[in-house]
Symmetry: C2
């Protein structure tokens, strides 16, 4: 089983409009409401890949109940620690080919609620082979949370994949995750400047490994990702630009890495599949999904070049 941790999930509302006109009133004809957040997206992709997965997270209020019901309806097992505060929403207005996003702040988490989550995590992680830790922390969850959870996971015999940024990422590296997987933007903090070139990304991937990760993966949008793993450096990419919604592409990548870790698949093979599924996720309007046909078309032509 793979446990996907979602500390700050959201109920994602998508409104499709002919146009968004600031200062005016709009009649929304159709509403899509889905459970979201990076950890939830990772779990959705793992579920579609056929991997047994459990979502562990924090949820509160009627929005939290709605989110849990939506996950259950999608066939995704989840165990949420209940919060007194209300789970956040995100609103995405899709109009004229562009998306306007409104992200609510996460709910405040009390010390007792965090301790309860930590205890649930420690108990559930014993059944897990791999734990994926991704996304933001709501207020009240300590900056050291991911480092702490990596340590708990490893003590229980599970491997960890961390997709985070800033001090949360740095702290987690020291705890020794199997994989650290920031995107180029998130990785800029480690380089001390924007990650612009492939060499920049390779430098960050090396840094991730030097600081404690078993493997370092840095994604670069349409240019795929670079990885340092098993003493080698790789560049994985697909030979065509996929247009659509890039939100969730990094989560699809994390999901394939987790599935590869569980299966013990050699890294180059995992990376080819990861870059194909991640690009196929861009072809889907909703984060947490990928287009099967696009993935099937891209997998044979994905390249994993050893640098």
């Amino acid at each position: 089983m793979i446990a996907s941790v979602s500390l700050n999930p959201a109920l994602d509302l998508t409104y499709a409009l002919p146009a968004l006109v600031p200062g005016s009133s709009h009649r929304v004809s159709e509403v899509i409401a889905r459970a979201g957040g990076k950890g939830v997206n990772v779990a959705r992709v793992l579920h579609r890949l056929g991997a047994p997965v459990l979502v562990l997270g924090l949820a509160g209020g009627a929005t939290g109940e709605r989110l849990e019901a939506e996950l259950t309806g999608a066939g995704l097992p989840a165990r949420f620690t209940r919060l007194a505060a209300e789970t956040r929403r995100t609103v995405t207005v899709v109009a004229g080919g562009s998306a306007t996003v409104l992200n609510e702040p996460g709910p405040p988490v009390t010390g007792a609620e965090w301790a309860e989550f930590r205890a649930t995590f420690a108990s559930q992680v014993r059944q897990a082979r791999v734990v994926v830790l991704s996304g933001s922390r709501p207020p009240g969850v300590p900056e050291s949370a991911y480092a702490d959870l990596v340590t708990v996971a490893r003590a229980a015999g599970a491997e960890a994949i961390v997709d985070a940024e800033g001090p949360a990422l740095l702290g987690a590296l020291a705890a020794g995750p199997a994989v650290a997987k920031p995107n180029a933007e998130e990785a800029a903090g480690l380089l001390g400047r924007p990650v612009r070139t492939r060499d920049d990304a390779v430098a960050v991937a090396h840094r991730l490994v030097r600081d404690g990760a078993g493997a370092g993966v840095v994604s670069r949008g349409a240019d795929g990702f670079v990885a340092v793993a098993g003493g080698a450096t790789y560049h994985a990419r697909v030979p065509e630009a996929v247009h659509g919604n890039p939100t969730g592409a990094g989560d699809a990548l994390a999901a394939v890495l987790a599935a590869g870790l569980v299966a013990g698949t050699p890294w180059p093979e995992v990376f080819a599949r990861a870059v194909a599924v991640s690009a196929a996720a861009v072809a889907c309007p909703y984060a947490g999904e990928y287009d099967d046909a696009v993935a099937a078309r891209l997998l044979p032509v994905a390249t994993v070049e050893q640098l």
Copy 2:
């Protein structure tokens, strides 16, 4: 007791932002979530006026539960018929002094759910002196709903105030409500052209009475309202323009009319209070509230001119 009917209530979410930039992502720092919809706003104002009030409506899903909990927390008794479908939301982005509104569609209502609401209404209305029927109908609720509810209310000895538009308003008039109270925009359908001048509004108010209402009130924004009641025609207004959020001003007006009907207060006195409280509602950022100080300042200077 006054029963305020809210067939299509909403959970109103308000996001305050420095700016709304279409096509980009926004971090919302604070979320206000309130129960809304015209019937709910009317009930809030009645509650603040000290009148015993009961909200009767339709609500479903986690959003419906959240809405009920919010009303209970505000001290407003409510009895909602449960729907299988989810109650709608509205999202208002307040940025740079203007409001961008996104209105979700109402939840579909089944025939059985509507029959259940109707039975609850018929039972509860026996304790009511006045019933306020205002706002839109969700899909599945018949166009004749307000006409039907006016008839049921009158048979039980309660008077009805109707704030509606189009065929729903026309149908309700024939059932003989004590007051019909559209705004100028809603009244345009009855005149067959835009209600531009005071004379236009007076013509519509007469038409409301001729078609079956005991009194006709047509509100005209900053110019107050005109009314035909007890064989006389009135123009009620305040001598200053109040700036703010006009949403809910008409609901405040309906609430004061309902309280006046229950108390048996003479119309000119009710109208003075109604125009003052309605203008004071504009001074409040949230529909369903009014500014006490503004109401107290405007009440002595409000004029009710007999035309």
